[in-house]
Amino acid sequence: MRTHPISIAAFLYRFLFLLLIPVGRGFITALTGGLLAWLRGAWIDLIVVAVILALAYAKWDQFKYHMDSSGIYFTIGIFFKRNSFIPMQKISTFSILRPFWFKPFHLVKVRIDTIAGDPGKADLSLYLRADEAGRLMRLHGAAHEQQASPGISAEYRPPVLGVVFLSLFTSNSFLGIVFVATFISQAGQILGEQLSELLFATFQELARQIAISLPLLTAGFLAIRLPPIAAGVAIALLGGWLVAFLLNLLQTKNLRVQRKNDRLRISGGILVEKDYSLRTGDISFVDIRQSLVTRTLRLYSVFVNAIGIGKDKSDIAAIIPFSTKSRAMRQLGLLLPEYCSTPRQLRPNGGAIFKFIIDPLWPCLLIPAATFLGIWLLPNWAEILRFAGFMLSLPAFWFLGVRLMDFFSSGVSRSGKHYTLRYSNLYYLHTVVFSYDKIALVNIRQSILQRGDNKCDLVVSTRAEGRMRHHIRNIGWDETVALFEAQDAWAPADAGIPNWYERIFQRALAVWNRRTAGRKDGSKR
């Protein structure tokens, strides 16, 4: 069977590099000839365009597929043909995406993903009519129904407030700014430069007005007089965040998660309606993600990481957008009982706090110091420097807060085949649950400083198409090795007779340990 003819448009971009020929010709004629010389050779450009169209058509014409209960067969290529077969049991995720602009044509995009292939894109993408995509989805579902042992069945529709909160906390100002800037620039090109100039002038005026009226509006609470450039940055960030928030909300609205036997079905979205069907066995890990604010408010968001989900920025990875601890755990227990977190068995020792806070400590100390130095050196720039220093300090102190929370909560546990890792990555705290067979690599590493108390850092890479690493700091070496069944007859201390340079180091370490122990005894007395 052939895909929808709209695929021709999708294939066009693969041959756009041929447009380099007319561009090169135009460049050469601009240097040597003139307009007439260029016009005389215009037939070359027309031929190139015709070739691009013909190749895209041929690619679509040669692209055929057939799906039955055993799997999907497809043929692709014009000159170099490739026949492939993806067995049904190897399909990890079957996704149907319905952007609103496809709806008038009853068209959808189908994505088929396996554990193999390029991590950045789907193993097979097809543009099909909606009814045909539905047939394939049913076929895929039916094939797995036969293989699965009947068991778990659950459904979860999060309340609208949960989705709003999720969008609120996962929105990124920068993405919104990029989106708005692109929109204004494109609008300027299409509707005339005057429009974009008008928008930019309005933005400047707004920034100026806010800079003047902010101290009045806040009744002197914000005593600093805000420079217009700072107000402009603040508006851009706030506006960008608002746009990103709306986009996120439209992408996750109407979220619905269903579990039936060994399949998890996630659907939702307004601008682009999405429907994913994935095998629970192919879930790499379940991630309970919290920011500093949500940890303080004891709110939880649960995400899944699986093959074929998250390749596109608009993909829905959240299964429980926002909920209290008890509700989130109950829903997770119903949807994915295999992936419930367990209490910590290994945790960092009290002395490890410095290892946790060292990264954010530097910016927390250096940014205020640099601000005071700047104000002292350039008193005329005091206002803008104070504002910039304050704005830069905020993320640094935020990061420090996250690391402190991480210190009190990080650790590792194991229950049967499943592991729970608690750690932080930049501004988020993660509680990750995965099974042993999803581990790609366990890296247990010990620095020279950690040798004294036999601690180590644990870095676990989980199986996914891309690299997913989870890093837990300063836990016991022996316990970690035992927990991940990485023991053999060898430990760092038994590495053999130390060389003379290592002997010097070990002697120095022993002296240091003796002195520290002596000091501790003295203080106890």
Binding site: I115, A116, Y436, D437, I439, A440, L441, V442, N443, I444, R445, Q446, S447, I448, R451, S461, T462, R463, A464, E465, G466, R467, M468, V481, F484, E485, A486, Q487, D488, A489, W490, P492, A495, G496, N499, Y501, E502
Partner: protein, 151 residues
Amino acid sequence: MTLQKPDLHVLTVWRLRLLLVAILPSFLSAYFAPHIGLVWWVFTAAWIFAFLGFYIFYYPIKYRKLAYSVNEKCLLIHCGVIYTRVKAIPLTSVQYVSIATTPLQRLFGICSLIVFTAGSNAYIPGLAPDKADELRDLLTPVLPDGGEEPA
């Protein structure tokens, strides 16, 4: 499999590789020696210091800490110089294994084993070819019917 050490020839290979790398800075130092300035003295001292550091300390420590074994669940690689590391790769995660050799390694009759997993990979240098073959067969067993290994 009990803990195994790579072939000692790998240390010679690393040191020879270092000598090859040192040709360029030594040439630069020698070429600019007649019109030498302070910068070139510093440059020469720096690369000689680095060379000796690698030759005397880094590679011997690296070799001493390098070892591998296979237990019933995973392949274990002990390595690291500044950090002491144990890398554990579950046998179920191993997708395929490659045996690679460079001309220098061939000269000394050794090879390297690269283990590819979904999402990561690992590397064991300095194996004798028969040891590498044995390890490859252990990590990627061929089943009689050519089918998949049961999970």
